[in-house]
C-alpha cells in the first residue's frame, strides 16, 4: 500500500499542484497527463450525476415522489491503482492515487484534511499567493509531504 501522487486542480482545470510520492511509472509528459486526468474526472463527474439513483423522498401527501440526488465520485479502483477524489464546493479538486488495498481507511477524509488544514492554512492565507497560480509555497509543500508521509497507508 502506497501513495503514488497527489494532484490539485482548480475549477478551470488548471493543475495547481502535482506532487510525486512513490510513483514508479512516469508519463512522457506530465502536462499531458494532467490534462487527461482533469478531462477524465470531468467526464466521470457527469457520469456519476446521471447514474445516481433516484431517492424516494418523504411522502408529501400525494404519495412518494422521486427526487434526483447529487452523487459525488469518491474513488475508483482500477487494475493496479486506486484514485481518490474530493471536490470542494468552490470547484477545487483534490486527487490522490494510491495502491488498491485501503479497506478500512478513509482516504477521502485525508483529502478533506489536506484542504482544510493545509491548503486553507498555508495557501489561501498566504498573502503572496495569487489564486489560480501553481502552488510554490515551500512551507505548504513541507507540511503536505510530512502529512502524506505520516499516513498509515503510505508504507
Amino acid at each position: 500500500m502506497t501513495v503514488y501522487c497527489l494532484y490539485i486542480f482548480n475549477r478551470y482545470g488548471e493543475c495547481l499542484l502535482y506532487r510525486v510520492y512513490k510513483r514508479t511509472y512516469a508519463p512522457r509528459d506530465p502536462g499531458d497527463e494532467q490534462k487527461n486526468m482533469y478531462g477524465m474526472l470531468f467526464a466521470m463527474r457527469n457520469f456519476c450525476q446521471k447514474m445516481s439513483p433516484a431517492q424516494a423522498a418523504e411522502s408529501d401527501g400525494k404519495g412518494l415522489t422521486q427526487r434526483e440526488v447529487q452523487a459525488h465520485l469518491q474513488y475508483y479502483v482500477a487494475g493496479n491503482y486506486a484514485l481518490h477524489y474530493f471536490e470542494t464546493p468552490t470547484g477545487l479538486r483534490f486527487i490522490m492515487t494510491t495502491g488498491t488495498q485501503f479497506t478500512g481507511f478513509d482516504v477521502n477524509q485525508c483529502l478533506r484534511r489536506i484542504h482544510a488544514r493545509l491548503y486553507v492554512e498555508y495557501v489561501v492565507s498566504n498573502a503572496l499567493y495569487t489564486p489560480g497560480e501553481p502552488i510554490q509555497s515551500a512551507l505548504f509543500l513541507e507540511k503536505l509531504d510530512a502529512y502524506v508521509k505520516a499516513l498509515p497507508i503510505y508504507e
Binding site: T24, Y25, G39, A43, M51, Q74, V77
Partner: protein, 151 residues
C-alpha cells in the same frame, strides 16, 4: 444493496444491452444510456492511460467505482466486451463485508450467462444489440439471487 442498472458494451464502446432492475434506478432515455455507455468506455481508456505504476496495457481498467449514492462494478472480458452494474449505496454505511467480491461474482455469472444465451445463439451477430428474452429471464433470476444475499 440492490442491483440497479446493468450495461453491456461491445469492444467499440457501443451499448448492446441495458436493463434496470430497481424502481430507484435512474430513469433515462435510451439515448442517455448510449451516451453513458460510450462515456464509460472512454473513461476506461483514460483510466488505463493514467496508471501511476504501469503502462496502459498492463493496467486493468476500472474494477469498482464508488460515489456517494451508488457503487459501480465493472469487468472487461478478454474479447473486449465490457459489463458494468450499479448498486445503490447508503452513503452513511460502509459496504457489508464481502460485498465487493459478491458483485464481482455477479458480473462473472452474468458473463457466463451471456456466453450461454447470447454467444451460443447462431442468429446473434457479434457486437450487435442483444435482444434475447431467455437471457433477460435468466438475468432477472441472477439479480434476485444477489439482491437476496445482499439484504
Amino acid at each position: 444493496m440492490g442491483v440497479q442498472s446493468f450495461f453491456v458494451l461491445n469492444k467499440a464502446g457501443g451499448l448492446i444491452m441495458q436493463r434496470s432492475y430497481s424502481d430507484r434506478a435512474p430513469r433515462l432515455t435510451q439515448n442517455d444510456y448510449i451516451h453513458l455507455a460510450s462515456t464509460f468506455h472512454s473513461m476506461q481508456l483514460l483510466v488505463r492511460e493514467l496508471s501511476p505504476v504501469s503502462n496502459a496495457r498492463e493496467c486493468g481498467g476500472i474494477a469498482r467505482m464508488e460515489a456517494t449514492t451508488f457503487r459501480l462494478y465493472a469487468m472487461i472480458a478478454a474479447t473486449g466486451v465490457e459489463m458494468f452494474v450499479t448498486c445503490d449505496a447508503n452513503p452513511a454505511t460502509a459496504p457489508a463485508a464481502g460485498a465487493h467480491d459478491r458483485m464481482a461474482d455477479f458480473l462473472k455469472e452474468a458473463y457466463i450467462s451471456y456466453t450461454d444465451y447470447v454467444l451460443k445463439n447462431p442468429f446473434y451477430e457479434i457486437d450487435m444489440p442483444i435482444k434475447s428474452e431467455p437471457w433477460d429471464a435468466h438475468l432477472i433470476k441472477i439479480v434476485d439471487k444477489y439482491n437476496r444475499v445482499g439484504s
